[in-house]
């Protein structure tokens, strides 16, 4: 590139704004902390019971013995609850200027204001800015943060909360269940198709602060919704923990797509439990892009419970220096004529490590089910590493299962060809990498897709020009 601008990634995105809190719980985790979180939020007693039970389970559960290295997480060195400045601002103008500033730097507000329907921006652990479009209200769609949902729609919340991912599912789900705050709640009534994607921006902006959002999406019969979460977090010196739980109920003939563009700072442990249940003729799609964080362990899962249900996971991971992206998918076929497709693309560079870890189970009776799994990995230099750990458990003969994986480096021939056309090596490399992940990026909304291509370019060359 002729005029190389030195827009170092860390200089550009690696900032943190001064912090002001209304309340910050003490570091560490104990019964009092959990009780005080619940009290601060004025929660009903069943939620407090749920939290306390989950805390017990958290203590009993052991850390996962497989996957990425989690030994550096110190549960006593984390703030479990921070309440940011004044609650819920009604419009963009009401937000404190430093919060607006942070968003401005990321170039978000313009995009948000101009193009997006529902804005639900999360600053620290609580949603401070939320503008539910009138259009959504008219349709009867509920889109709000989880804390509000618990107050206003507690009947619906109680019916579904923690039923798909119970606290004893794993240690981090138990932790989230005990100390959760923030997250989104989406309820789409029968037959309603939401045309615009619902978006929530998440940011962690406080040192040593774990963010534990809890998201619940319920799509009633025949409805259609696309939920998008994007994350851009500033860089910090000490470890942060992000352990979210996402539960999605896709009823008969409904369709839900959940898109994540995740770019945590390079010291965040991102340990997320995501699960969806698809009933008859339902369609569930996870689109999952993991770029940042130091360790990501995330395996969006789908239970195909109803006949002809379809599940799809599109996963992309990028690991650079000091990063381990352990991502994948889990799909369970319980019913006849169910289909699933997993496409994973991973790139490792500069000592990064990407792992695909997947599980597909075909239970007895899931006749005529079809499974297709494809994982492609690119390794860009000799310091990097790529692993593939797919598992397939088949207990039904009348199925069709396919799995394939490839690992390779960028083709020298292709690079040579592009360079002979006058492109620099960097340009050729980033163009090839962007082409490699294109099947995924074309599935995400345009703004994210542009952001993603820029991020990859930035990470690849250290410059955007």
């Amino acid at each position: 590139m002729a005029n190389k601008k030195n827009l170092n990634f860390k200089q550009k995105y690696g900032f943190s704004m001064p912090k002001s809190y209304l309340f910050r719980a003490k570091k560490g985790l104990n019964k009092q902390i959990v009780e005080s979180i619940s009290k601060m939020k004025n929660e009903p007693s069943w939620m407090l019971d749920f939290r306390l039970k989950s805390l017990e389970i958290f203590y009993k559960k052991t850390m996962p013995t497989w996957g990425a290295d989690l030994s550096k997480i110190n549960f006593d060195d984390i703030y479990y609850y921070i309440k940011p400045v004044e609650s819920q601002a009604k419009s963009w103008a009401d937000l404190p200027s430093e919060i607006k500033d942070t968003y401005d730097r990321l170039g978000i507000p313009k995009a948000e204001k101009d193009y997006l329907s529902g804005v639900n921006a999360q600053y620290d652990s609580e949603v401070v800015y939320e503008s539910v479009n009138k259009h959504l209200e008219k349709l009867g769609v509920i889109f709000c943060d989880m804390d509000t949902a618990l107050k206003k729609y507690s009947k619906i919340v109680k019916e579904y909360f923690g039923t798909l991912i119970p606290a004893h599912d794993n240690k981090f789900a138990a932790l989230n269940s005990a100390v959760w705050s923030g997250g989104s709640f989406v309820y789409v009534p029968k037959g309603i198709k939401v045309k615009m994607p619902l978006q929530a921006y998440f940011r962690i902006n406080s040192d040593k602060f774990g963010q534990f959002e809890r998201t619940l999406i319920i799509a009633e019969e025949g409805s259609d919704v696309h939920y998008v979460e994007g994350c851009t977090a500033p860089v910090y010196s000490s470890s942060s923990l992000h352990a979210a739980v996402v539960e999605i109920f896709v009823k008969k003939k409904a369709k839900v797509r959940y898109t994540t563009v995740q770019n945590w700072s390079s010291n965040v442990y991102n340990l997320v439990t995501k699960r969806a249940k698809a009933e008859e003729d339902a369609v569930m799609e996870w689109v999952d892009c993991n770029i940042g964080s130091c360790v990501t362990m995330k395996y969006p899962s789908i239970y195909l419970n109803g006949k002809r249900a379809r599940g799809e996971v599109l996963s992309m991971a990028y690991a650079a220096k000091g990063q381990h992206q352990d991502a994948g998918a889990k799909i369970f076929h319980f019913a006849q004529d169910t289909t699933s497709r997993i496409i994973s693309k991973s790139i490792s560079r500069d000592g990064g490590r990407t792992s695909y870890r997947g599980l597909v189970q075909v239970r007895p009776g899931a006749k005529k089910s079809t499974v297709f799994v494809s994982c492609d990995a690119l390794i860009l230099d000799e310091k990097s590493r790529s692993d593939t750990y797919p598992t397939m458990l088949v207990k039904e003969s009348d199925t069709h299962i396919q799995h394939e994986a490839t690992v390779e480096k960028l083709g020298e021939d292709k690079l040579f060809y592009m360079m002979s056309r006058g492109l620099s090596r960097y340009e050729s490399e980033s163009m090839l990498v962007n082409g490699f992940i294109e099947p995924i990026t074309k599935e995400i909304p345009l703004e994210y897709s542009v952001e993603m291509n820029r991020l990859i370019r930035l990470e690849m060359t250290g410059s955007v020009g």
Binding site: P364, Y389, M392, V394, H400, V407
Partner: protein, 204 residues
């Protein structure tokens, strides 16, 4: 060593009871096993090793086969290629875990791993875990696995040629395993080939 003058070796795992094989010199090696369980390590410590690993598993009744294979590439410019075919009748179970591991020193490796299974009964069970761990960058590795039952159209076609269901099924299964037997024919002595072929025909 030129290609036509390469050392050829054939290792029949069922007879050769070792579980760890180290390939220290260039050459073409063929490993074969049928209907066994065990943990097998294939370590490639030399360049220009061309290793083929073939396996045939035929499960009947309550048979359980559990196979772990490791293809470890510790030297550059070698190839390894694994193909395991499983045919599972009755309540048989087949658990396969295969690992291709390319160490940092294994640049310019080409490694393949493939597991294909035919499910002949509703009660059969397959668990397949084809893993890859790649620490070098200039490599090409693929793995694939397929599991399914016999295509109804194929049976129908054979029926239309006045071949009954039982016979049609047998034809398709023998075609499925013959892909491996045909290769073995060129890799081992006639005597050994015939005895392997005979053994497989009996187990079918």
């Amino acid at each position: 060593m030129d290609k036509f003058n390469q050392k050829m070796s054939f290792i029949y795992l069922n007879k050769n009871k070792k579980t760890k094989y180290i390939f220290n010199s260039p050459g073409k090696y063929t490993v074969f096993f049928n209907n066994i369980s065990g943990d097998y390590k294939f370590i490639i410590n030399s360049k220009d090793v061309d290793l083929d690993i073939f396996g045939i598993i035929i499960g009947k009744n309550e048979n359980i086969f559990k196979i772990n294979t490791d293809q470890i590439h510790d030297a550059p410019k070698s190839n390894s290629n694994l193909l395991i075919k499983g045919v599972l009748y009755d309540r048989s179970k087949f658990l396969f875990k295969g690992l291709i591991k390319i160490e940092k020193s294994g640049q310019k490796t080409r490694a393949y791993q493939k597991n294909q299974n035919l499910m002949m009964s509703d009660q059969a069970f397959v668990d397949t875990k084809p893993y890859l761990e790649i620490l070098a960058d200039d490599v090409f590795c693929t793995h694939g696995s397929t599991t399914g039952k016999i295509d109804k159209d194929s049976i129908y076609y054979l029926n239309s040629r006045s071949i009954d269901n039982k016979k049609a099924e047998n034809l398709i299964v023998s075609g499925f395993v013959n892909e491996i037997l045909e290769i073995l024919k060129q890799r081992t002595s006639k005597q050994e080939y015939l005895s392997i072929k005979n053994e497989i025909e009996i187990s079918l």
